[in-house]
Symmetry: D2
Subunit: 363 residues, 4 copies
Amino acid sequence: MPKRIGILTSGGDCAGLNAVLRAVTLRAIQGYGWEVYGISHGTQGLLRRPIDYQKLDLKSFEGSILRLGGTILGTTNKGNPIAYPMEDGTLKDRSAEFAEGCQMLGLEAMIGVGGDGSLHILRKLMEKSKIPFVAIPKTIDNDLGITERSIGFTTAVDVATEALDRLQPTAASHDRVMILEVMGRDAGHIALAAGIAGGADIIIIPEIPYKLQNIAHKIDDLLKKQRNFALVVVAEAVKTENGSALQIFDLNGRARYGGIGHYLSDEITRLTGAETRFTVLGHLQRGGQPDASDRLLASAFGVRAVDLVAEGKFDRMVAWQNRTIIDVPILDAISLNSTVDPNDALVQTARGLGICLGDAPYA
Amino acid sequence: MPKRIGILTSGGDCAGLNAVLRAVTLRAIQGYGWEVYGISHGTQGLLRRPIDYQKLDLKSFEGSILRLGGTILGTTNKGNPIAYPMEDGTLKDRSAEFAEGCQMLGLEAMIGVGGDGSLHILRKLMEKSKIPFVAIPKTIDNDLGITERSIGFTTAVDVATEALDRLQPTAASHDRVMILEVMGRDAGHIALAAGIAGGADIIIIPEIPYKLQNIAHKIDDLLKKQRNFALVVVAEAVKTENGSALQIFDLNGRARYGGIGHYLSDEITRLTGAETRFTVLGHLQRGGQPDASDRLLASAFGVRAVDLVAEGKFDRMVAWQNRTIIDVPILDAISLNSTVDPNDALVQTARGLGICLGDAPYA
Amino acid sequence: MPKRIGILTSGGDCAGLNAVLRAVTLRAIQGYGWEVYGISHGTQGLLRRPIDYQKLDLKSFEGSILRLGGTILGTTNKGNPIAYPMEDGTLKDRSAEFAEGCQMLGLEAMIGVGGDGSLHILRKLMEKSKIPFVAIPKTIDNDLGITERSIGFTTAVDVATEALDRLQPTAASHDRVMILEVMGRDAGHIALAAGIAGGADIIIIPEIPYKLQNIAHKIDDLLKKQRNFALVVVAEAVKTENGSALQIFDLNGRARYGGIGHYLSDEITRLTGAETRFTVLGHLQRGGQPDASDRLLASAFGVRAVDLVAEGKFDRMVAWQNRTIIDVPILDAISLNSTVDPNDALVQTARGLGICLGDAPYA
Amino acid sequence: MPKRIGILTSGGDCAGLNAVLRAVTLRAIQGYGWEVYGISHGTQGLLRRPIDYQKLDLKSFEGSILRLGGTILGTTNKGNPIAYPMEDGTLKDRSAEFAEGCQMLGLEAMIGVGGDGSLHILRKLMEKSKIPFVAIPKTIDNDLGITERSIGFTTAVDVATEALDRLQPTAASHDRVMILEVMGRDAGHIALAAGIAGGADIIIIPEIPYKLQNIAHKIDDLLKKQRNFALVVVAEAVKTENGSALQIFDLNGRARYGGIGHYLSDEITRLTGAETRFTVLGHLQRGGQPDASDRLLASAFGVRAVDLVAEGKFDRMVAWQNRTIIDVPILDAISLNSTVDPNDALVQTARGLGICLGDAPYA
C-alpha cells in the first residue's frame, strides 16, 4: 500500500469537486494513515517548478468546504502535458516533466477527477509516469459511459430547472416565447432533464434532428389552445436547421457560449410572429453549491477510489449503477460516449407529456 | 381502452405529487383522448355523497403547478374504507360505498399514488370495486421495495441537507453539538443520505443499533482533534438505547414527531458535558417545492402509468431501476420493505468518511 | 366610496406583483365589501372588446399565488393607449376607447401598479377617463423617486447576488475574470447592491464614468496580491468607454439585452491578458419567486392603496420611507428619477471595501 | 489614529457576521493600513491565556466567507466578564483580566458586534479597559432601537417565510392547521414579517395580547369560507392565554425553544376540532447563508465603524435609517428596546389583509 497519494481535478469545474477532495482525504488519512497531496490547477501543478500543490489534511475540510462549488485545487481545460501549447505556437511533449513532478513529490498513486477528455490524457500521463491511477468521473454533461451519473450533473440540472421556474412567470405575464440555452457540448442530458422538470414545451438537443417548422407548429398549436406563452430549452451544441455551427467568437478567437439560443429566438419570431427572448445560462451551471445528490455521489466516489488504491485495483474508474458503486476499466468508460438515446426513458417521458422535440409537429 | 380514468393521491403528502397529476393528465388527454377524474382527499372523495372530485384538464396544469408541493387533490392517511373508524368507535367496511362511488363516476381504470400502506389498501379496494388499477410509488422514506426511488424522497433529503447546512455554522460559532431529527418511520434513508451530504459526524438510523457510549466517544474524539462542534442526524423512528419508543403524545393521544432528538440531546450532554441543541425538522420535509429529480421521476411515472392502463397491464406498479422505468406486480413491490441495508453503498460511504453510526466507537 | 374598483399591472413584470393583487383584493373585499376587477395585460384589456378582465375574489388568492413571480393579470410595456402604434405605422390616441372600457366595467376607481413610464401614462389616461386613480410603484431598477424601495427590486438583487455566488467558485477554479451583466436601464442600483453583497471586485454603473485603464489596473493589482480571479458586475445601460451605446439588435430591430458585458470581457482580455467569461443575467431577474421583503412591501402597498381609495385621496402614490408607508402626489414621485447618487451610502461602502467603480485606479 | 484594532462578535450568532468581519478588515487594512485582531468566542478570547485571537488579513476573506453563516471568530452568550459564573457557583468580576488582555494585544480601539445585552456589557468592559469602542448592531429579533434594521434580521425572516411556503401545501393537502413557532425573545418582528410574507392567517406576537377564542373564531370562519387549512405563526416569547410562561426545560435546567407552539396546537384542536401540527424552527433561523440585504447592511456597517474609529468618534453605534448610515450614542440605542408598535405599518398591513392578531375575532 502506498504512503502518499496525489489527487487532482481536471477539465471544466463543476459542483461537487470539493466534496470529492474531502472524501478522498478523510478516507485516506482516517482509514489508511496516508498522506494526501492535492495538485494545483489540474495537471499544471506538476509541470511547474517548484511544484504547485497543497498537502490536504482533516483541517482542510472542516466547516463548509463540502458545500462549496468549484475546486479548491483549481483546474484547467488547457495545457495537455503531452501536447503542450508553447509560446512559439508549437506543441511539446512535457510528460517527462510531469513524471518528474510526481517523482519529486514521492507520489505512489494518483486519483484523478475528470471527464472523458481529461481522463484520456491523465491515463496516458500516469502510464508514462509509472504511477498507478484511479479515476473519478465528473462532467455536467453526463456524457461518460457506464456510470449512471457523473459528478456535477444533477446540480447543473437544478440550476437550469430553476432558470425555467423563473422564466415561466415572466413569459406568461408578457405573452412571450422564452428560450433558455443550457450547456451540453455533445449531449442533451441537461436540456432534456431540465426541460421536463421545468415544464418546457419544446426541447431541442443535438441527438435529435429538428425542423424549425415543427417548432413553429408546436407554438402555433399552444396559442390555439389559449396558452399565451411557451418555454423552449436548447442545448448549446445544437446547430442550425441546415447543420451549421452557431457560435460567436470574440476578438481572441475564443468561442463564446451562445448562438443557438439567439438563432432560435429569431427564427421563431420569423415563423410565428411571437415575441421571443433568449437567455444563455452559461457558467451559472458550473459554480453553484452542489446539491445533496452530487455531494452524495462525490462522497461515495471519493471513498471508493481510495479503497481501490488500497486494494491495488488500478487503471479503473468508479461508477454508479443501480444504487451502488462499481468500478470498471477506465478505457471502457471513456470509449463509451453516453449521449441521449432517442429511446431513453426520459425521451419517452418528454414525448408522453406532449413536449416537442423538434422532429415531429405534435399537433 | 378506457374512456375515463380516475386518479388519487393517498397517504402522507410529499413533494412531486402535483407533477404526477400533471403527467397523468397530459398523457391521458393528449395521448389517448381520455377523461381524467381526480378524486379528492385520497379515498375519501369516493365515500362522500355527492362524490368529491374534480375533472382534470390541460388548463388545470398550466403555470406553476408542476413546481408546487403538496397535492391539489388533497390526501389523507386516515379513514381506510375497508376498516373505517366510525364515530361510535367501531370499524366499518365501507368498500361497497367506495365501489359504488367508482361506478357513479363511470371510472374504467384507476391510477393510485401512495406508499406501501396506502397501496396495500388501494389494491384491495380496487379489486373489490372491480376497477383495473395501476400504482405509482411515493414516500419520502424511500422504503418501497424494487424501485430505486419513490416520489418525494430526494426533496426530503434536500430539505434535511439544507437544514444541516444551516446548523453547521451556528454549531461552529457556539461550540455546540447540534442534533437534527429527520423523518423516517421505519427506514433511515433520509437520515443517511442527508447526513452524508450535509457533513454530519454522527448518523443514527433504526436499522443499525447504537450505543450512547459510541456516540459520546466520537464527540470526545472530535474535541480532542480541536474540532469545536459536532453535527448529529437521527431518524425519528430510532428508539432509546435500551429499545423504548420515544414519543410525545398530545392531549388528543396523537403522536407528535420528536422525542429521540431531545433524548439524544440530553444524553450527549450527560455523557460529554457538551452544550447541545436539537431541531425537529418535521413537516418542513413534506410540503416543499419538488426538486428537479422528483419532478423528473414523477413525470416519468405519470406518463408510464397511463401507458400501462392503455396497454391493459394492471395490478402493476411503475418503478425506477438503472436509469429506466419498469413495471412490476404491486404485491411484489409492497411486500419488500426497503430499509437501509447495513452493507449498502452509502453505509460504506458513511463509514469510509469516519461518520459514527453508533455501533462502534470510531476513535 | 366606490363599490367597484379596477386594478392593473403595467410595464415590465417583476417579482411581487401577485402579492400586490392579493393585498388589494383582500383589503377591498374584506375591509370594504367592494368588487375588484383585474384588467388583463396592462392597459390593453380595456382597449379590447369584449373587455379583457377577470373578477378577483378571495378564492383567487388561496394557495401559493402570493409567492409566484410575474402577474396573473399579465402586463405589457407596449401599446401606450394615448399614442397607440397602429398596423399602418401611425400612432393613434385610443384614450377614449380606454375610458369607454372603464365606463363599461363600471369602475369607480383604479389602482395601477407600474414604474415611472407606466405611471406617467396611466395617470393621464385615468384623468381623461375621469376615474380617480391611486398608484403603486414597482420597478426592479428602483429608480422611482421618494420611495426607498419599489416592488421587485430586492428580489432582482437577490437573483444577481446568487449569480455572483455561483460565478465566484468557478472563477477561482479557473483563474478567470467573470463579468456579470445585470439589468438597470438608467440606474445602477441592482449592480451596486448585488456587487457589494456578492463580493464583486469591480462594479460599473451608468452614474459613474469609468476608464478601462482603471479596471485593468484593479485586476492587475489583485493578481499582484496573489488573487487568481476577479468578479465584475456591470449594469446593462453602461456605455463603452467613449460613450457609445452597446447593444445587439436582432433581425426584427428589437434591442437585445447584452453588449456591455461582452465589450468589457474583450477589453479586459486585451488590456490584462486575463481569461474572461461574461454572463448576461437577463430575464432571470424578473420572474423569480418574490423574496420576503418584496412580499412585505407589496402587501403593505396593496392594503394602503385601497385605504387611500376609501379615504378619497387620489392622484397619489404609496411609498416606503423610514419603516412606514406614506403617500405622495404621483407627479412628485415620477418627476424624481432616482439614480445612484455618487455620495450614496452604498457607494461609500463599495469604495470602503476597495471595490473599483471605474473612476479611479484603487491601487 | 490607532495602528491596531480588535473586533469581536458577541451574543447569539446570526447571518451576516462574517460579512461584518470582512468589511471591517478590508477597510482597516486597505483604507488605513491598520492591523486587525479578531478576538475568539466573544469576550472569552481576552480572558484566556494565552489570549485566543486570530490576526485577520485580506487573505482571510477571499473566497466565500462573505456568504457563510455564523462567525469565524466564534461567539458566546455566556460568561459576562463583569459577573463571570465561576465553577463554585459565585460570580466574579474579571474585567481587569479582560483589560489586561486588550493591553497584551496592544489594541488601540475595539469594534464590537452585538445585540442590546451584549453591547451593554461590552460598553462597560471597554470603558474599564480604557479602549475606545464602536458598536455594530446585530440581532435576529430586530429589537434594537434607532436602527431600522440590525444584522441577521432579514435572513431570519427569509428562513421563517420559506418555512411557511413549505407548510402551506402540506397543510392544504391534509386539511390541517399548521403552527410555526419562530424566534423572538421579546419582540414579534420575525413572526409579524414572516407571517405577512408567508401568507399566515393568524400571527401571535408578545406585544399584542390574544384570546384563544379569537383564534378559534378565525379558524372557524376560514372553514366556513370553504378554506380547508390555516397557517399560524407565533413568536417563542408568547405566553399562555392567562400569562404563564411556556417552556420546556431539559435535565440541565436549560430552557429549550418551544412550548407555545405545542400549546397553541393543543388548544386549537380543543376549541375547533381541527387537526393541527406544529413546527419549532429554532436554530435554522440563525446559521443560514446571509441574504443580500444582510450582506449589504453588514458591509455598510463594517466600513462605517472603521471610519468612526479613524475619525475618533467613539462610544457610538452605527445604524441604518432612511437609506443611509448614521451613528448614534450607544446608550441611546440600547436604552430603546424596539418591540412591535401596535400602530406599526406592518401591523396595519396584517390587519388590512384580514390576518387575525388574536386581539379580535375578525369574523
